[in-house]
């Protein structure tokens, strides 16, 4: 038996021809804690999903204990001893802890009392303070994670993969989680964990692998890294070779203050967050997953609600506002272009024109009983031409469009509302190269017209190419502001993780 429990050679995974990971070599030793770090989109999640059988490799080899394997489902991976604890946990919230533990391994006849007793004994053996009869939906994030870990151990996993395990944990819970992971290591279990918190990687891991743009950059002992070295490895791309070109040498002057967010709170994601957005400028908001960027601007646009008690204050044009649903925010001139267009952005089986016209409906003061097909088509045609949406015929459904053109439809749906403040959340996620350039041109044009534009992005080159001022968010609040002229990738990333 070799010291390496799992290895990947030349691992490549393509999504619609676009590589998520490309030629990645990875080794996991027995009983080691191995941290995977990299920017959003670096390929960390894809790599771990390959190991866990969630996705299959397009090319490359995977071995477990020296034997070639190719798990096609999580069940196959679990039978090989590989379990994955997802960021959004995979437990059934309406079932009890004990039922979740034995889910998928039920016998022909299951005696509930017996399951509870066995679960109690098992949880005690792990020193997990979780009641087996409790409903999972009623548990906190840390306890849910314990159940996930317990399930992995119960299934005799020799490799456990954690995706952002500490994102939703309190500091005390994190400390407890670290103890758990160290205990698992003592039991000979190998751990792979993805984390954006570099101090966690340095504190916990035996080895660290850095990925960048889907490629393997470096793997070495954690002791040989420091924060600066990891940040350099994470962002060390040559900007001149990227799609976004050279950095800005001038910025737009700030106009009137359009949006003021003061001490905004929405537990646990937004913590006392304060920021301003000015007209005629692009304000870039950078942060790693869990930094509370999206949630902050969803509260601004009425998609989410702030805390009921002492939730802070939002001012639009220096007047306090509180939107409980998006419609009044749209009427007040706020447009939010969602990061998850497939779920929140459009009706995929409706035509482009209908989707765009939907955006306009919320601007009408009392709604509309009857819709004019002619007006719908006219509005749709105008925006299809303006944003150069490429589709086969005017009646094409949104589902038939490419990612880039779908994104243009979502943007058109917001711009048709003629907003003063436009919030783009990950505007080029899953968008083809040509469309990225066009979307960026559009965003710049909006700022030139005097609109207040916010661009939330996890991709540093995009933030640096677009923004006039850059806000860096960490742990639910803006922690640093840079002018585009003074910002460097290293400075921004340093602020995002320290």
């Amino acid at each position: 038996m070799t010291d390496t429990v799992l290895s990947l050679r030349k691992a490549t995974k393509l999504y619609a021809g676009v590589p998520a990971i490309e030629g990645v070599d990875f080794d996991l030793r027995r009983g080691e804690i191995h941290a995977l770090v990299g920017e959003n989109g670096a390929g960390k999640s894809t790599l771990t999903k390959v190991m866990a059988g969630v996705v299959t490799l397009t090319s490359g080899d995977m071995t477990v204990d020296g034997a070639a394997v190719a798990p096609r489902t999580p069940l196959e991976a679990r039978n090989l001893g590989i379990a994955m604890v997802f960021q959004e946990n995979s437990l059934v919230p309406t079932m009890t802890v004990a039922q979740n533990l034995v889910l998928g391994q039920e016998k022909f006849y299951n005696r509930l009392r017996g399951i509870y007793i066995a679960a109690q004994q098992f949880l005690q053996s792990l020193n997990f303070d979780v009641t087996p009869t409790a409903t999972v939906g009623a548990l906190g994030a840390a306890k849910k994670q314990m159940v996930e870990i317990a399930r992995a151990v119960l299934h005799k996993a020799k490799v456990i993969i954690f995706d952002e395990p500490t994102a939703s944990l309190t500091p005390e819970e994190k400390k407890y989680f670290f103890d758990l992971v160290r205990d698992l290591k003592k039991r000979g279990v190998s751990i792979v964990f993805i984390s954006h918190a570099l101090e966690e990687a340095l504190l916990l891991a035996d080895r660290i692998t850095v990925l960048r743009d889907g490629k393997h950059v470096v793997t070495d002992d954690a002791a040989k890294f420091d924060r600066a070295a990891i940040v350099q490895a994470m962002v060390g791309r040559d900007l001149s070779n990227t799609l976004y070109g050279v950095r800005k040498n001038s910025v737009r002057p700030a106009g009137a203050r359009v949006l003021t967010v003061q001490n905004l709170k929405m537990a646990p994601m937004v913590k006392n967050n304060s920021l301003s957005v000015f007209a005629g400028q692009i304000t870039g908001v950078f942060g790693l997953v869990g930094a509370g960027r999206t949630e902050t601007f969803k509260i601004v646009s009425g998609v989410l609600k702030r805390d009921f008690f002492h939730g802070g204050e939002i001012m639009l044009h220096d007047k306090p506002v509180r939107y409980r649903v998006p419609a009044p925010a749209v009427k007040a001139g706020i447009a939010y272009v969602t990061e998850d267009r497939k779920v929140e952005g459009f009706f995929e089986t409706s035509s482009i024109a209908r989707n765009i016209y939907l955006g306009l409906l919320s601007k009408f003061p009392r709604g509309r009983m009857m819709l004019s097909r002619r007006e719908t088509n006219a509005v749709g045609k105008t925006w299809i031409e303006r944003l150069k949406v490429r589709a086969i015929g005017d009646e094409a459904k949104v589902v038939e469009l490419s990612g880039g053109n779908q994104q243009k439809v979502v943007i058109a749906k917001s711009l048709v509302q003629e907003p003063d403040l436009i919030i783009f959340d990950e505007p080029t996620r899953g968008v083809d190269v040509g469309a990225i350039v066009e979307i960026h041109e559009l965003i710049n044009q909006l700022a030139d017209e005097g609109k207040a534009v916010v661009v939330i992005s996890s991709y540093l080159p995009e933030i640096m190419a677009l923004s006039d001022r850059i806000l860096v968010s960490r742990q639910g609040k803006v922690v640093e502001e840079f002018s585009a002229l003074e910002a460097t990738e290293e400075k921004i990333m340093y602020a995002a993780i320290h």
Binding site: P171, E172, K174, K175, E199, V251, P253, A254, A256, R257, T260, V261, Q262, N263, S274, L275, S276, F278, F308, F309, H310, G311, G312, E313, M315, D318, P320, R322, R469, L471, V478, E481, S483, L485
Partner: protein
Amino acid sequence: MIAAVREFTNRFLGRGEATITVPSFDGALKPNQRLEQAVTLLECEAPEDLATDGRTLYLADGRRLLRLDGGTATEIRSFEQPITALCMLANGGIAVALAGREVRLFADPAAGEPTVTFADAAFNAINALTPASDGALIATDGSVTCGTDDWARDLMELNRGGRVFRLEPRTRSITPLASKLGYAFGACAHGDGVLVSESWRHRLVLVRDAHAPQVVLAHLPVYPSRLSKAAGGGYWLTAFTARTQLIEFVLREPAYRRRMMAEIDPAYWVAPRLRSGFSFKEPMQGAHIKTMGVIKPWAPPRSYGLVIRLGEDGKPLYSLHSRVDGVNHGVVAAIEVGSDLVLIAKGPGRVLKLPLAGLAEEFGA
């Protein structure tokens, strides 16, 4: 009835008037430590205000009127009461406010007797003087009840007794221009009106005869104070300290404030200060938060230093700061003299000088 229910609900939920929030220092107000790099021209006991005729710089230091030549101060004269405001007149004369209750105009800074004295019974805390566009003098009076040195009490009592007066030297008449302001502290002529700082409402308003004050700049994260004209157009606005959520909270707790004012030495109130870190008795020094199992010391700032460069429209262009770990706090006056900006950091008792060349370029304004 509805207003009472709304007030109760707001207090219960922390909304509306009961919101304990503070705007952030961002955009043009993004923090830096530029004031810490300023050259100290002079250290004195009680610097209060500056005035210049373009060539000579005058400084009010307690009861003394000083002339500053570089780092050398020469006493021109002294008064029987402390000077609370200073201003040069178009005819080469000087206007001096004494103890906030009297304004004297002199033909020149060394002249023996005043040409005009304004001593209206309504005056209580005259804290800034500025020439109006038509040769008259504009005076801001912070409070009806508290003196210029007792401004913290005025804040803690939530007083709104600030006033703006127009003093006409030719007719020796006094005309009130505005009243019920949240501590008027600083003014500067702007078109046909006067820009006035309202410290307790954290805003600048445009005051014009027969018009209600019009808000020009609101929701500042600081307590604004005196204004002066900038040579390139626009204004310099000083701010004597920054707002904090702690103070905002205290301002919404009347019982706490009453007891604090009755029982505690004003130097140790939970209130904004012009300087801090001078005594172990200062409140909230021992606060801490626990992160990743490690106790980290933390305390809300008690003092701050800030000057804001405003454009002609009154909007901020950039700002010069002395942050919590700095010394040059409590900035109450800033004035351009030649190619320099001269400031008073009242906290440490310093007169500071900062070269103007390159400042706008440095901050991308």
